[in-house]
């Protein structure tokens, strides 16, 4: 059916499946930021301050917010995957319920984290 993916009806399970891959790719790009953070701290006050001013900008805030959601989503959906690996939660109703739980948990954790950093 590829590339006509819009032919499929919305399903929480398939949507969350592709979101797991998308957040994984985004977080992989984020490892670069993690590395730059550590290298800038090790390189002294001047290089750290240019990193900090980028993170402090509005673009930095958007990136931090995006990473916070990507992280909490990938973490909670990853735990959902580990339960599947153990052979649990494969019934359709269970997979849908755990899917909505992952959405709720990652949304709440993201909001709480951003509030505690910025407010």
């Amino acid at each position: 059916m590829s590339p006509h993916l819009s032919a499929y009806r919305f399903r929480i399970t398939s949507t969350l499946s592709i979101l797991h891959r998308m957040t994984g790719v985004a977080l992989s790009a984020g490892t670069l930021l993690f590395a730059i953070w550590l290298i800038s701290v090790a390189s002294g006050a001047e290089s750290y301050s240019s990193f900090a001013s980028f993170i402090g900008s509005w673009l930095g805030a958007v990136i931090i917010a995006g990473f916070a959601f990507a992280f909490f989503y990938h973490l909670s959906n990853g735990i959902r995957h580990l339960f599947w690996d153990a052979g649990k939660g494969f019934e359709i109703e269970q997979a849908q319920a755990s899917g909505w739980t992952v959405v709720a948990v990652s949304a709440i954790a993201t909001v709480l984290t951003l509030l505690s950093i910025w407010v």
């Binding site: 891959r21 994984g24 790719v25 977080l27 992989s28 490892t31 670069l32 993690f34 590395a35 550590l38 290298i39 701290v41 090790a42 390189s43 002294g44 006050a45 750290y48 301050s49 900090a52 993170i55 992280f71 973490l75 990853g78 735990i79 995957h81 580990l82 690996d85 984290t113 505690s116 950093i117």
Partner: protein
Amino acid sequence: MSLKSPIGRVLGLGSAKEGTEHWWHQRLTAVAMVPLTLWFVVSMIRLPDYGFATMQAFVAAPVNAVLLLLLSGTLLFHSALGTQVVIEDYLHGGSKLVTLVATRFAYVALAVATSFAILKNSLGS
């Protein structure tokens, strides 16, 4: 239709052992990162400010430095395994091989660079 026998076609392609190894390492690093990443996020939230002195003291503290080394190694390994699967799914032929090799090199370089930065910060410039 090829004259090659079925056994001739699969010989030399390698055993399936590597696939299990990839899957297993992805799960091992995933489990390890549950506490490591949560420690990192909570630590960042609990820092009084994000100035240079606070950051440097945080990264330099022995326990934090060890945990950061563990996190950075596990994170980059997990990310490399995941990125490999994405590349294998969407790229084919020569570009697939080149991208696989290039990203693997980049991940090793990134792991060495972050480890060096953590150690340099703890053990003095």
